[in-house]
């Protein structure tokens, strides 16, 4: 009852004309971002951070939630109509979505994708509401050892789940942690690695690093790639209605995708992307017609598109309940909250209930807006991909430059942007993932402080940090989660090798 009461209060906050307008603008901008290959929700949120300077914290969060959800919606449009994923979480949708469009069922794929996204988004918000409440209550019992355990385990999972080479991911993670040590030491007040530059005293700001690695790095990579001009399949309004059998085949994948997406969203790393792959494999395994996958199976669109939207709700749980961002996009959200003087964490629910519940309520509203916005305007959104690269890329660079400068009017930040832009181009081209570096940079200070405080409390003894009930359970659960797949792999290999010997 208390949750419902709080939610009603949240709707009162979110339903003010100003907040509704920003939710709509966020959803619209997010859809465009999702449609355009390259920028992604993280880059756009980082670029638009300066837009939120004049807003209050609640409005800024509502705006960002709209962008994040909108990007997930928009990504499917180009995947289905052009076979070009607008962002990484829509890659899987290309497989069956574009095939459906080639067979004249593109409208049905778009509608199922939009409805699936809406259902999943709504279900994940319900999950977020309850999970965040419970987790925030637990988090109030956290001491430094628990915060250290959570951040260390989170980063460990990030390395495993970020894809690509694990060694390169570890290197990026350690580079991020190294960067997080630049600036004034929080406990002793001494300067570290500042080289006499006053502006580095406050540390390396994550925003120019993230915008450099993701935004400028992407621009430079796009500049050397050939422009893709896929054939766009046109959709008429009457084609948007799926047939009865298509609806029937989509219902279970939408619900399964919602559950998979929400739980994967709780994990560190690019959860919306991972959730789509897991959902696709699950649907293929459960399907009575697995041979249709890859040839235009509607389940291959309904499941993954639901999963990536549900993952967004899941990703908000650790941020709102614990104050820890587990995805790079959530790190930008933390940055926005900090700019407005709000520290995310377990106390946010009690200290800033209007912000917490206002954002949750705005997500419901945003999902309805996206459903209404996306289907009638689908062709218009798809046309945006026709903007040539030589027009789009300079504008993105300009937005990055002004966006970074506007936050703290720092020339040093502009050099950091340039440095990490080049690093992003070089490293991403060689398969180094930027997400572990960015998240380690954000989580690093909390990890260091909690480790040093834990050691001081326990007079240098490490065992008492591990055997505490909550921290111990976390380490045990993490060890099981990491060890079980390895054990299963060894067992399977043993079984496979047995008949041969």
């Amino acid at each position: 009852m208390n949750v419902l009461h709080q939610l009603v209060m949240g709707f009162q906050v979110a339903a003010t004309p100003g907040n509704l307008l920003w939710a709509l603008i966020g959803a619209f901008v997010g859809t465009i971002v999702g449609v355009l290959p390259g920028i992604g929700p993280l880059g756009s949120m980082a670029i638009l951070l300066s837009f939120t300077l004049r807003m209050d914290a609640t409005t800024a969060m509502i705006f960002f939630a709209g962008i994040y959800y909108g990007a997930m919606y928009g990504g499917s449009t180009t995947s289905i109509l052009l076979n070009i994923p607008g962002e990484a979480a829509s890659v899987v949708t290309c497989i069956d979505g574009y095939k459906m469009a080639q067979k004249g069922r593109g409208g049905a794929a778009l509608t199922v994708s939009a409805v699936g996204s809406f259902v999943a988004g709504t279900l994940s918000i319900v999950g977020l509401m309850f999970a965040a409440s419970v987790l925030a209550d637990v988090a109030l019992k956290f001491g430094p050892p628990e915060f250290f355990a959570m951040s260390a385990i989170g980063l460990l999972f990030l390395v495993r789940l970020s894809g690509g080479s694990s060694m390169k991911n570890v290197i990026m993670l350690l580079l991020g942690l190294a960067l997080s040590t630049v600036g004034t030491d929080r406990l002793h007040g001494s300067s570290r690695f500042t080289f006499g530059i006053d502006e580095l005293g406050q540390g390396v700001d994550f925003l120019p690093v993230a915008m450099g690695l993701f935004g400028i790095g992407e621009v430079m990579l796009s500049a050397v790639e050939k422009e893709s001009a896929g054939e766009m399949i046109r959709i008429r309004m009457r084609d948007l209605l799926p047939r009865a059998d298509e609806w029937r085949r989509s219902i279970a994948p939408i619900f399964r995708g919602s559950i998979i997406g929400f739980f994967i969203g709780l994990l560190p790393g690019p959860s919306p992307v991972i959730s789509t792959f897991v959902s696709y494999m699950t649907e293929k395994k459960w399907s009575k017609r697995p041979e249709e996958f890859g040839e235009g199976a509607i389940e291959g669109v309904a499941g993954p598109e639901s999963a990536n939207n549900a993952a967004v709700g899941g990703a908000y749980v650790p941020l709102l309940a614990l104050g820890v961002p587990f995805t790079p996009a959530m790190a930008v959200v933390v940055g926005a909250l900090m700019l407005h003087g709000v520290t995310p964490g377990p106390m946010m629910m009690t200290e800033r209930p209007q912000l917490f519940w206002g954002v949750i309520a705005s997500m419901y509203i945003g999902n309805v807006m996206l459903l209404v916005l996306n289907l009638p305007l689908v062709q218009a959104f798809a046309m945006i991909t026709r903007i040539p690269k030589h027009v789009l890329l300079p504008v993105i660079v300009l937005m990055c430059l002004v966006g970074v400068y506007s936050v703290s009017s720092s020339y040093v930040d502009l050099y950091v942007l340039a440095l990490f832009g080049v690093a992003g181009f070089v490293l991403r081209g060689l398969g180094y993932q930027p997400a572990p570096l960015v998240l380690a940079l954000v989580i690093g200070p909390m990890m260091e402080t909690s480790l040093r405080e834990s050691l001081m409390i326990n007079q240098g003894a490490i065992a008492p940090m591990i055997v505490r009930p909550i921290a111990g359970t976390m380490y045990l659960a993490a060890a099981c989660a990491l060890a079980i797949p390895l054990i299963l792999r060894v067992v399977r290999r043993g079984v496979a090798a047995a008949p041969a010997t």
Binding site: S50, F51, L53, R54, M167, K168, V170, I171, L174, L175, L177, A178, T181, D185, L187, H188, S190, R192, F193, I216, M220, L221, A223, V224, K389, H390, V391, L393, P394, V395, V397, L398, M399, L401, V402, Y405, S406, S409, Y411, L414, Y415, L417, A418, G421, V422, F425, V426, L427, G429, L430, G431, Y432, E448, L451, R452, L455, M456, Q459, G460, A461
Partner: protein
């Protein structure tokens, strides 16, 4: 070759970072100093980047993938990013942004010089109106910027 250069660069960074962290006060486990966490990170980074460099140098360099670094467009973008803060400091927002945008438009294949210049000028003014006029961002301003702000009814 690119993999080797990057692996060597990361190893060099790890060495320099380790040296820097040891110059800080490391302290004891019971009383950790400012350098303890950096030292732990540095040694982990040294170990991992050392193994990575060894593996990379052992592999055949001809099997490498990835983009060519010495291409005009990315090199030009990098150069404009480095030059922009210098221009911004001395020329104010409109002129420095217009120059950088013009170079970027030309680098990325935007039609003729005159069209690129016009596009750069229009984009610059629009961005100034949005950021400085509507969002209230304080950008380095001179006489031209002041005139635009006065036209918008905002005191510069």
């Amino acid at each position: 070759m690119k993999e080797r250069i990057v692996a060597a660069g990361i190893l060099a960074f790890a060495l320099a970072y380790a040296a820097g962290s040891l110059a800080l006060k490391v302290g004891t486990l019971a009383q950790p100093g400012a350098g303890q966490f950096p030292a732990a990170i540095a040694f982990a980074l040294l170990a991992v980047s050392g193994v990575h460099a060894w593996r990379t140098f052992r592999n055949d360099a001809r099997e490498e993938k990835g983009h060519a670094w010495a291409r005009l467009a990315p090199a030009g973008i990098a150069a404009t990013l480095v030059v922009y803060p210098l221009l911004l400091r001395s020329l104010s927002f409109l002129l420095s942004t217009c120059i950088v945008l013009f170079v970027l438009f030309r680098l990325l294949g935007f039609k003729r010089s005159l069209t690129s210049l016009a596009a750069a000028a229009v984009t610059t003014v629009l961005s100034f109106v949005v950021f400085a006029g509507l969002l209230g961002v304080v950008l380095p301003s001179g006489a031209a910027e002041g005139s635009i702000l006065r036209l918008l009814g905002i005191s510069g």
